[in-house]
């Protein structure tokens, strides 16, 4: 037995072995406890994941042949659940109609619909009340509906209390004693009939009680009378034929793409259902969605390319400026330039938002002193774009300064000197020798910076929220929205509800674009060599 259990090369039954066993025991116990709950809550995917993860842990930590996996498994479990699974799940959501109004499952929707009463209802009937008592003050109501002759027996509840189990209709199966045969039993199930006189002493208490009936509610009016409100459910689901019957309008409703449809009208709420590639088709062909997408994508590219270009240009200029050995104070300049980079971008963005305020902001104050009129930085579509680029220049130039300084040092001096000997001017040396070499060595980082800025959510979300908004657009978006901020609003913070299906479709489009950029980046970098290096 012990021979089959690997103990990481230390002696059998070492402390580490027992620690592993103890941890596995806890993991297994928790999993065994959680799996039935997950199934009960209809979280099958999560349940299977848990079973798989627990099983993998047991195998990996108890079977000797899996040496390497034990080092990777802990991280892999988290990656599987929160990186790989979300990608697959996003793809699934993108094929559904999952949105406000279609959030629930079909079973939940039917359950909700069947609770809706017929409008108006049947009110005002009154019934007779008899009260029973077991001697301890525990009460039971017997209610007779004179119109239908139905009787109900059950436990009354407080008016404001929660709905209890409905009273049973009829007295079958109960221990009924009606000695004088007047139709009013003297005793039911051990509860004795309270005589009318006795009722007045508890009249106040009775007035607060109601009895839930199978299809309605009985409210105490006087000590011997109740008012009965019958409410019949409006929708009845016929499981065999999978149709919903509207008893009020007397029509049958059939399912269409996640909603029951009666006479061409959708019943709300609907449920989520796979609708195929409709979201993608809508996003790419419906003009009212395509126009925003093209505008947002164009600005997204301009923003990302512009940010890389501007930050690289400024960073390189500063790096070139301090490059000559004659320049003093390099360490000082370097330390100052690192500051914008060190401040967390969310904080800088909040601060710039204030500085760029049109009325009170310091930037407009400064420009005002120079004679310029106030600029509507965050209100005008074009100025907002300029503001976003300006702030991103501030956020990003230190990084480019740092990589440009490093790359400049790695350019062999012989090359530039040789060019000078050949009669090249300083300008020619820069454009023909230095810059091309620099671009080659920094290309992977520039592409990385582009990919980062392509999804630079923090800056946009804080500085402009994508605004100023485009008025009258069928989907909410603004002039500085990039894809990721647009999708975020679509899914979570738009005033027009959430459209998870469509948002996921856009997310998949971003995934494709990002993969494309990375493919270009991998080509430029040499990451792959590391994989195949040994």
């Amino acid at each position: 037995m012990a021979r089959r259990l690997d103990t990481s090369a230390s002696s059998p039954r070492s402390i580490s072995f027992w620690i592993v066993v103890a941890v596995l025991a806890v993991v297994d116990a928790l999993s065994i406890a959680a799996v039935p709950i997950l199934f009960a809550a209809d979280q099958k995917a999560l349940a299977f994941f848990l079973i798989g993860a627990a099983f993998a842990m047991n195998v990996v930590y108890l079977v000797p042949a899996t040496r390497a996996s034990r080092w990777i498994l802990p991280g892999f479990i988290f990656m599987a659940l929160f990186v790989i699974w979300p990608v697959l799940f996003t793809a699934y959501v993108s094929l559904t109609n999952w949105a406000t109004g279609n959030i629930l499952t079909k079973a939940q929707v039917i359950e909700q619909l069947e609770e809706i009463p017929v409008a108006g209802g049947d009110d005002g009937g009154s019934g007779f009340l008899n009260v029973y008592d077991d001697g301890t003050g525990d009460l039971r109501f017997l209610i007779t509906d004179p119109e239908s002759g139905d009787v109900y027996f059950g436990i009354p509840r407080d008016k404001d209390g929660e709905v209890a189990d409905a009273a049973t209709a009829g007295l079958e199966g109960l221990d009924v004693v009606d000695a004088d045969a007047d139709g009013t039993p003297e005793s039911i199930d051990g509860f004795e009939l309270v005589p009318t006189l006795g009722l007045f002493s508890i009249a106040e208490q009775l007035g607060e009680l109601v009895l839930d009936l199978p299809n309605g509610i009985a409210t105490v009016q006087t000590v011997s009378q109740v008012s009965i409100v019958q409410s019949t459910q409006r929708y009845v689901y016929d499981e065999a034929r999978d149709v919903l019957i509207d008893t009020q309008l007397n029509v049958e409703c059939v399912e269409f793409e996640g909603n029951f449809v009666c006479d061409g009208k959708e019943v709300n709420p609907g449920w989520r259902v796979v609708i195929g590639a409709d979201n993608f088709r809508d996003a790419l062909t419906r003009p009212e969605l395509l126009k925003p997408l093209i505008e947002i994508f164009t600005w997204n590219m301009v923003f990302a390319l512009g940010s890389v270009g501007l930050t690289f240009a400024l960073g390189l200029m500063l790096a070139l400026a301090i490059q000559p050995e004659k320049m003093k104070g390099r360490a000082f300049y370097r330390s100052v330039f690192i500051i914008p980079y060190a401040i967390p971008p969310f904080i800088s963005s909040v601060v710039w938002r204030g500085l760029l305020n049109t009325e009170f902001g310091q930037v407009n104050d400064l420009l005002g002193n120079l004679g310029a009129s106030a600029i509507p930085w965050l209100q005008d579509p074009n100025w907002a774009k300029a503001a976003v680029l300006l702030v991103n220049l501030w956020l990003g130039f230190p990084y480019m300064f740092l990589i440009a300084s490093g790359a400049l040092q790695s350019i062999p001096q012989e090359l530039t000197e040789a060019a000078v000997v050949d009669g090249a001017s300083a300008r020619q040396v820069f454009w023909r020798v230095t810059l091309p070499l620099l671009l080659v060595s920094t290309a992977p980082l520039l592409i990385g910076s582009f990919a980062f800025n392509f999804n630079n959510f923090v800056l946009i979300f804080i500085l402009t929220q994508g605004g100023p908004p485009v008025i009258g657009a069928p989907v909410p978006y603004g002039s500085t929205d990039i894809l990721i901020s647009f999708v975020f609003d679509l899914a979570f913070s738009s005033g027009r509800g959430s459209n998870f299906g469509l948002a996921s479709a856009y997310t998949i489009l971003i995934f494709v674009l990002v993969a494309l950029f990375s493919a270009i980046g991998f080509r430029a970098s040499r990451s792959l060599e590391e994989v195949y290096g040994d």
């Binding site: 990186v83 979300p86 990608v87 967390p344 904080i347 204030g354 990385g448 980062f452 995934f511």
Partner: protein
């Protein structure tokens, strides 16, 4: 050789750069000690000095700034430690053990990190919602849940980076330890970790800063104001009354960034090296 005139011009250019770099910094430092709280009254040299803006941050019941700051530190510290631990374990096996599927695993890691985790935010929201139905302590609007999500990004680029550094530790050291009877676990703890500690420190800081500034997933997963991270809190705060409470906002900006700026300045060389290599941020 460059001329003296060129040197002067270069210094002038560099000082323009410094003006640009420090412009917002100087303004918020000044606003944070300005007795007049609003944006309109902001002066470069305030009339009088006060620490009220800082003090106010901690006892304004409507703006739980202290909670936000503590939340951010708590989540980022725990997240960075967890991330580093998971990444280092995986990196060790890729660097030291030879097993079937090693190359495929490395390539897989590289491919997975092509897709930024935050892009899956809609699915992550539903996943955490589902977890919350069974284990409410790890569901939506909990820090534990957010942390689990952050751990998902642990093995990816960091593993790759750490593996690279572990590769530079001579394998003869492992072999010597093995001869002395050390298990792989012991070699990892006693040989590899101590020798890669400086690098792990840098990666820890970079990961911490990354989590500290994470806004998208936190915004999707956290709901109640007292659970917000600093990034979320300031974002919300800046939407509402920032112009009237410019002093408070500036103080918050300084308290929120000072420790990180200080760390960057002290460990400049190492951090810059790590960042420009990894391209984690920027």
């Amino acid at each position: 050789m460059i001329s003296r005139r060129s040197v002067t011009l270069r210094h002038i250019g560099l000082w323009i750069g410094i003006f640009f770099a420090l412009y917002p910094v100087v303004w918020i430092i000044s606003a944070s000690v300005n007795p007049v709280d609003n944006l309109a009254a902001s002066r470069l040299i305030p009339e009088g000095l006060t620490l009220d803006n800082y003090r106010g941050l901690f006892d304004d019941p409507l703006v739980p700034f202290r909670d936000w700051l503590i939340n951010s530190w708590k989540i980022s510290l725990a997240g960075a430690i967890g991330n580093l631990a998971l990444a280092a374990l995986a990196a060790y096996s890729f660097s030291r053990l030879r097993f079937r599927g090693r190359r495929a695993g490395l390539l897989g890691l590289l491919l997975v990190q092509v897709f930024p985790q935050f892009l899956g935010f809609i699915a992550i929201f539903f996943t955490l919602q589902a977890i919350g139905e069974v284990a409410p302590g790890f569901g939506l609007d909990t820090h534990a849940g957010l942390l689990l999500v952050y751990l998902g990004g642990a093995i990816g680029f960091n593993t790759y980076l750490i593996k690279g550094f572990m590769d530079t530790v001579p394998i003869s050291l492992d072999e010597a330890a093995k001869v002395d009877g050390a298990s792989p676990a012991l070699i990892f703890w006693r040989v590899i970790l101590p020798l890669t500690r400086p690098v792990l420190g840098v990666i820890f800081i970079i990961t911490f800063v990354g989590l500290y500034g994470e806004l998208l997933l936190a915004s999707v997963l956290l709901r109640s104001a007292e659970n917000f991270t600093l990034a979320m809190g300031l974002q919300q705060f800046s939407l509402s009354e920032y112009a009237a409470k410019w002093g408070a906002l500036s103080a918050a900006a300084i308290l929120g960034s000072a420790p990180i700026v200080a760390t960057f300045l002290v460990a400049q060389k190492q951090i810059v090296g790590g960042l420009t290599q990894g391209g984690v941020k920027g």
